[in-house]
Symmetry: C2
Subunit: 107 residues, 2 copies
DNA sequence: ACAACACTTGGCTATTTTGCCAAATGACAT
DNA sequence: ATGTCATTTGGCAAAATAGCCAAGTGTTGT
């Protein structure tokens, strides 16, 4: 693994790490159709507003979402919609796992 | 967020979490073309064999790779090749970030 | 200027992840 | 059976992550 490869992999891992949290995945799903302010998003999650805010800024930091201010509110929107389509392959893994698990139980 | 949604998101996040590490991404790239034994993989990474082994079993646990024994060696192979194609979208994020960063420097 | 609102940031603790070493397992050869 | 090779597992310490509360920032309305 060369040093350049190392850097490339670090960068990729950073994006994946940003995605790898249930609350953040939920937030991204909410943003898929349209932008939302933090207040909209907080309602659906059972976590402190500050926690949601931190999740959002983490996603922003990773370049996955962006924000704009409109009066008192801050609206977040998805920058890279393909990320959510991408999850179809994750779903493939889960289905495969489910089948394997079922087979193990039957056996 | 319903409880069922919660479970679904947890499962997805677990797979993403397994992917979200530079060494593990490298291991997956090695396995993309063909299966490899641990000894093959250890050579390319500057980490202890035991560390590599733990990364591999984590990936296996997540259902991303599988293993078979052949004599003294254990061969790992990629179970869900689409995961690596999927990363093209991660690359999109990174390119976008690079452009944004460049623009900020210029400004 | 001041209060109210929407959000972010700092600070803290609890939990999880990482990676090394050393010890254990499993397969094969002698 | 004993030794050796390939790999896994246990145990531990260091680092990163998560989430709450409280305090701070920025905006609007009075």
């Amino acid at each position: 693994m060369t040093e350049q490869e190392q850097l490339r992999l670090n960068a990729r891992a950073a994006v994946l790490k940003a995605l790898a949290h249930p609350t953040r995945l939920w937030l991204l799903e909410q943003l898929q159709q349209q932008e939302h302010c933090v207040c909209d998003l907080t309602d659906g999650v059972n976590a402190d507003i500050s926690t949601v805010s931190k999740h959002l800024s983490l996603l922003k930091q990773a370049g996955i979402i962006s924000s704009r201010r409109d009066g008192k509110q801050i609206y977040y929107r998805l920058e890279t919609p393909c990320l959510l389509n991408m999850l179809s392959c994750v779903e493939t893994v889960l289905e495969k796992n489910a089948r394997t698990h079922a087979a193990l139980i039957k056996a």
